[in-house]
Amino acid sequence: MSTATPTVAETGGLASDSGASSSVPRKTPILLGVITVLLGAAVLLGSQDGDTTFRLATRADFVQLPNLVVPAEATALVAVVLMALVAAESTRRYVAGRRTPLWLISVYSVVAMFGFLSWAAAGGTVPVVGLLGGSLALAVPLVFGALGGVLGERVGVVNIAIDGQLLAGAFAAALVGSLAGSTWAGLLGAMAAGLLVALVLAVFAISYYVDQVIVGVVLNVLIIGITSFMFSQVLSENTEKLNSPPRFSTWDIPLLSDIPLIGPILFRQTPIVYLLYIAVAVVTYALYRTRWGLRLRAVGEHPKAADTVGIKVKATRYRTMLLAGAIAGLGGAFYTLVSVSQFNREMTGGAGYIALAAVIFGKWDPIRATLAALLFGFASNLQGVLSVLGSPVPSEFMLMLPYVVTIFAVAGLVGRSRPPAASGQPYKKG
């Protein structure tokens, strides 16, 4: 988070808690308390025997970290006690009129997760590298989609069509990748497809003033229709030639990939993941530190003022939407060039909507939206890992988690979020 701090401070009233600064939110201590009580009840009622092993290294590691073995029930109880202490501290701060600092919440989250895993995976082994690395991989399309969404909303266009852009990207990546026999060509195809969807969205939303949410929703249906139609009618008739793109292999970054624990998680990934690092960094820097970004945000916050000082509102919106579409399209390529090397109908499974949730949960900030997307990736990967281990929590509830968290987020439990002022409003000159 440290990289995000100056940018958030700089934007001040743009995206962060402008409304909450006057009064300290009482939601934080309540939320911390509720989670503590829930985990405590789970640990006490569903008592678990045995030890939990956390495997910290993979076989290929340069430095072999030893496995961490802890007694399940006792560790979980200690975690609950620690969590209760943090919740008490948060309450004390609230009474004293101070906010709970972010680092305390982070510590709380890590302890809670550790305690929960110790309890849920009793008698089994938690592959930490696999859990976190897999989360990153699952989050890739979400992060790309969320970046596209953040850019769009920051310039004043709500992009519900992220899902359509991901799906179109996945389709184009499979088709172009197969035809050219190259993953990189597939990647370009995915960007072009995302851009095309964004262009349609932009024409309707910016030039014809159609309600942006309506265009977005309808575009998603349209893309599902077109890709499914083409899949049945064209791709599946010649799978060999049209729908078997090559796959990206993992690249180990020298030196960096040998760092214990972090290396295998962050630097033993496919090139798309490295593109993701670059994209997040570039978008964040450009949005907050360049003239381009300032103009973009001005158009999204107060188009009339921007127009008055000579910024071309519609042109800025068009350019930004196209860029955002290309970025979201890249995320779609992940489905066909990394995870499965074949396109399938509706294969994004509504990931674009989760990316949209990450945009809002991340308060329209690229770094925070990325973190939110990573959190969602973690939740779905955790579900997969736990179902292998046979956890006591029904998998359906784990799968539900990102969506419930988002509802809480938009309902303001995690802090009041305010979208860019002109987001969703078409701009008519004069």
């Binding site: 519900i160 309707f204 014809y208 003033y209 159609v210 309600d211 949410v213 309506i214 265009v215 929703v217 309808v218 575009l219 249906v221 349209l222 599902i224 229709g225 077109i226 499914s228 139609f229 083409m230 049945s232 009618q233 064209v234 109908r345 509504g350 909507y353 949209l356 949730a357 809002i360 029904p394 359906e396 509830f397 799968l399 539900m400 969506y403 419930v404 988002t406 509802i407 938009v410 309902a411 303001g412």
Partner: protein, 414 residues
């Protein structure tokens, strides 16, 4: 919970407040005015939008047809082959669409021939009900994308009641239907309540509730104690008991069931609610301008909650329609069959007006029924219907675009 039935008492109070439909403006001559209304009116745009969408759909059918592609390779040598192949592909597709949705011209007698029309009506029923739910929320300025979740919850709850309540005779059908509508209402009501209390955007909340509802229903369907068929491992419930199934309207030969009539009743109810009741007046006032409505003394937050409750009940009716009428063989997670999202396009095409939604539902119901035959007999994937449907809505939503394409005068110019 505020059910749709309860509001009838408040409706009588200030009928005068509900303004009448716009009266026709005084024009130069009646004929000229009529012509101008036709050219600038929304009805023509709707027709042209459907036309444009069908044209694009035809092009897609044409260019993916094998015979057309073969003949396209020598189009300059023998263009007539190309055109006749194209004509075959497109006319075959739309003829199949017609035979599947209106009248089967290959049938021996009228009773068999008219069967596709009753199928269209059957598919139209839930589309109309769910479309009303989305459209009503639109009128109050709420975008209800949660149709899928509301239908799933409604279907699961009405299925649960039908299997477990054990009531005699038609009482079971009534109880199961009402329970499903209540479930849909409550699920949608969450979004209304959160918007009213915290300002949470209903688009996000309803999208998220779709997923939460899906996993909830999936959870219930994989637990024997809740909905799963005893002794089975599939996520599916027992079939509905006979007295909980919506009776067929036209006898055993046709699948058209009571659900269609319930949807018609819903159309009438929503029309009355919007145009003749004080509550509907408040809905529209909030939808037009929430700030003005608040100034005028309307409790905007409460209006959001109420409209979502009624909208959810209407979408819930579509869910019960599926479980108790169209697919009574047992609740699955496919209850909504895409209707939750189709409802949005129905509401948009119907311009959120109950009568318009009725016609839009009929049209899309016909597409649905015909699409299946098109796939079966012509090998054209049923997804083309999705494409045409969404294109229609896109064009409808942008009247200036359609006017520009057909060089019609704009509203302002007239």
């Amino acid at each position: 919970m505020t059910g749709p039935e309860e509001q009838s008492t408040t409706g009588e109070v200030d009928l005068e407040q509900a303004p009448e439909e716009e009266t026709a403006p005084q024009g130069p001559s009646r004929f000229e005015q009529a012509m101008r209304d036709v050219v600038t009116g929304n009805a023509l745009v709707a027709v042209l939008a459907v036309f444009l969408a069908v044209v694009v759909g035809s092009l897609m059918i044409m260019f993916t047809d094998d015979a057309v592609r073969d003949s396209a390779s020598y189009v300059f040598a023998r263009p007539q082959d190309f055109f006749s192949a194209s004509w075959d592909a497109i006319s075959g597709a739309y003829a199949a669409l017609f035979r599947g949705s209106v009248y089967n011209t290959n049938a021996d007698d009228f009773a068999t021939g008219i069967r596709p029309l009753t199928e269209s009506l059957k598919f139209a029923g839930p589309l109309i009900a769910a479309g009303l739910g989305v459209g009503l929320a639109f009128r109050a300025g709420m975008f209800n994308i949660g149709g899928r979740g509301q239908m799933l919850l409604a279907g699961a709850v009405s299925g649960y009641v039908a299997i477990n309540a054990g009531l005699p005779g038609p009482l079971l059908l009534v109880a199961a239907t009402v329970a499903g509508m209540v479930a849909g209402a409550l699920w949608a009501g969450i979004a209304g309540l959160l918007k009213a209390r915290t300002g949470a955007h209903e688009v996000i909340v309803t999208i998220m509730l779709n997923y939460v509802g899906f996993y909830l229903v999936f959870f219930a369907l994989s637990r024997q104690s809740l909905l799963q068929t005893p002794g089975s491992v599939n996520p599916k419930s027992l079939p509905m008991p006979d007295n909980a199934v919506m009776p067929d309207l036209l006898g055993d030969r046709y699948n058209l069931h009571l659900g269609f009539v319930l949807s018609l009743v819903a159309v009438a109810f929503v029309w009355w609610l919007l145009n003749r009741s004080a509550m509907g007046y408040r809905f529209r006032a909030v939808g037009e301008n929430p700030h003005a409505a608040r100034t005028a003394g309307i409790d905007v937050g409460r209006t959001y909650v109420t409209v979502m409750l009624i909208a959810g009940a209407l979408v819930g009716l579509a869910g019960t329609n599926q479980v108790l009428g169209t697919v009574p063989s047992g609740v699955t997670v496919d209850v909504d069959a895409g209707i939750g999202f189709d409802a949005i396009t129905v509401a948009l095409l119907g311009r959120s007006n109950p009568i318009g939604i009725f016609w839009a539902g009929l049209l899309f119901g016909g597409f649905k029924a015909g699409g299946f035959l098109m796939q079966a007999s012509e090998g054209i994937p049923v997804d083309i219907v999705l494409v045409i449907q969404s294109l229609i809505v896109l064009f409808i939503a942008a009247p200036p675009l359609v006017r520009a394409l057909f060089r019609l005068p704009s509203k302002e110019a007239a």
